[in-house]
């Protein structure tokens, strides 16, 4: 998921950065100072999700869960993910510094799209229905993310087109896993603390 520094062309880097700035700006506008503890703590949970490695045949995948993050945070996912990705680059070496904008957009924009797509469904009074929307959101976010990653690569040069084509099928297993995991997570939240998702956040 994390594209490294040096791979992408300048136009892609710049447009990624611009989009990220816009997204973060909107996110920050929508986030009160009162919400900071909540957003900070939730962002940490999603940071930790990327440490949960699930076996998949002979290899393993780690969770991304940007769909669920989007469902919960909406536009605020942008600043949350920007900070999380920044920490990951600096302290773990995942991704790169100049591609931070592109990486943020690739993960946060799907989250926001999912927020609008699943906004209604996730608030359904039946836990099962809500959870299915959660699964759609979880899997959908991965699809959109991988398409965007593929595009960022393909737009950076002819030679990346093959790599870009490989991105999509490579993410199908992750998509399935995230779908199931998101289903269970939403189901649990809906039964245990429904006010958490149904509550309106400004």
């Amino acid at each position: 998921m994390h594209i490294v520094d040096g791979a992408l062309s300048v136009p892609v880097l710049v447009s990624g950065a611009v989009l990220a700035v816009v997204g973060v700006f909107i996110g920050l506008k929508k986030m009160d100072y009162d919400h900071l503890p909540l957003v900070g703590v939730l962002a940490s949970v999603f940071f930790i999700a990327s440490y949960i490695h699930l076996p998949l045949g002979f290899s393993s995948v780690h969770l991304i869960m940007n769909g669920l993050l989007g469902i919960i945070l909406g536009w605020v996912a942008f600043p949350a993910l920007l900070v999380a990705l920044l920490l990951q680059v600096i302290f773990f070496g995942f991704g790169g510094l100049l591609v931070l904008g592109v990486n943020t957009v690739n993960i946060a924009l799907p989250a926001v799209i999912i927020y609008y797509l699943c906004y209604k469904g996730i608030r359904h009074e039946s836990a099962k229905v809500a959870a299915i929307w959660g699964a759609i959101g979880g899997a959908g976010a991965i699809i959109i993310t991988s398409v965007m990653v593929a595009f960022s690569l393909a737009l950076s040069g002819e030679s990346f087109v093959l790599a870009a084509k490989a991105v999509l099928p490579a993410h199908i297993p992750i998509m399935i896993v995230e779908g199931f995991v998101s289903y269970a997570a939403v189901y649990l939240i809906h039964t245990v603390k429904p006010e958490f998702i149904t509550k309106e956040k400004s």
Binding site: L188, T191, V192
Partner: protein, 229 residues
């Protein structure tokens, strides 16, 4: 249960140290026989929880052997088999309950052991009944009281039919009534037990043998209780 005279769990020369700390456990030796109930006493931070986690392989010892049911456990796979036979009750019930409803939480263990869903449900209901918790199966775990949570975690361990029960401060955060209830339940169980408890009254009633963990050493308790000035 056909281990004639063989000890259920045997610990030899076990040592442990957390990174950048002094050693917590120094060459511990310990044997658990059938139908014993061993209570381990020790101050806060003495390393009791660490010891229990080492026994079931949640932490790996740098030195020493853990021989569970005749097998010297070294690999994660061996420990996994050990864990099916030695059920560990955690210090904080909140850490153990992660499913939305009680039934799902109790079923979790049997499903891990490879039972079918139907079998797991049956067995879980039966265990809940045995602990007097029938009617709780569709309650939401997160909303239970402390005592109820403790009982459910006990059920979720017992449902796996362990031969040894390992209890980390089971009376923690329980009120007197819940404590008495737990005591009765535990006394009626046939399993061998290793118990940590700060509650003198509780442990005195339950123990067949008491040990002290102090300065990383495990010794027989001669004088059971020394009050703090």
């Amino acid at each position: 249960m056909t281990y004639s005279n063989q000890p259920l769990i045997k610990i030899e020369n076990l040592s442990y140290a957390y990174p950048r700390r002094g050693s917590v456990l120094k060459a511990i030796n310990f044997v658990l026989h059938r139908s014993e109930r061993v209570v381990i006493n020790g101050d806060n931070g003495a390393g009791k929880t660490t010891l229990l986690h080492l026994i079931v392989g949640l932490k790996k010892a740098k030195q020493g052997d853990i021989i569970g049911f005749g097998e010297n456990c070294k690999t994660e796979k061996q420990f996994n088999q050990l864990r099916a036979k030695a059920g560990l009750l955690f210090q904080d019930p909140d850490d153990q309950l992660f499913c939305p409803t009680v039934l799902e939480d109790v079923m979790f263990g049997p499903l891990n052991l490879g039972l079918t869903k139907q079998q797991a449900i049956e067995k879980s209901l039966q265990t809940l009944k045995q602990l007097g918790m029938q009617g709780f199966e569709s309650r939401i775990t997160h909303q239970l009281s402390g005592g109820e949570k403790r009982m459910i975690t006990l059920a979720s361990v017992l449902v796996m039919e362990p031969q040894v029960l390992i209890l980390d401060e089971p009376t923690n955060a329980l009120d007197e009534k819940a404590k008495m209830r737990l005591l009765n339940v535990l006394q009626a169980l046939p399993q061998a037990m290793i118990i940590i408890s700060h509650d003198k009254i509780f442990s005195d009633q339950l123990a067949t043998r008491q040990l002290n963990l102090q300065d990383g050493l495990l010794t027989e308790a001669s004088n059971p209780a020394v009050a703090v000035a």
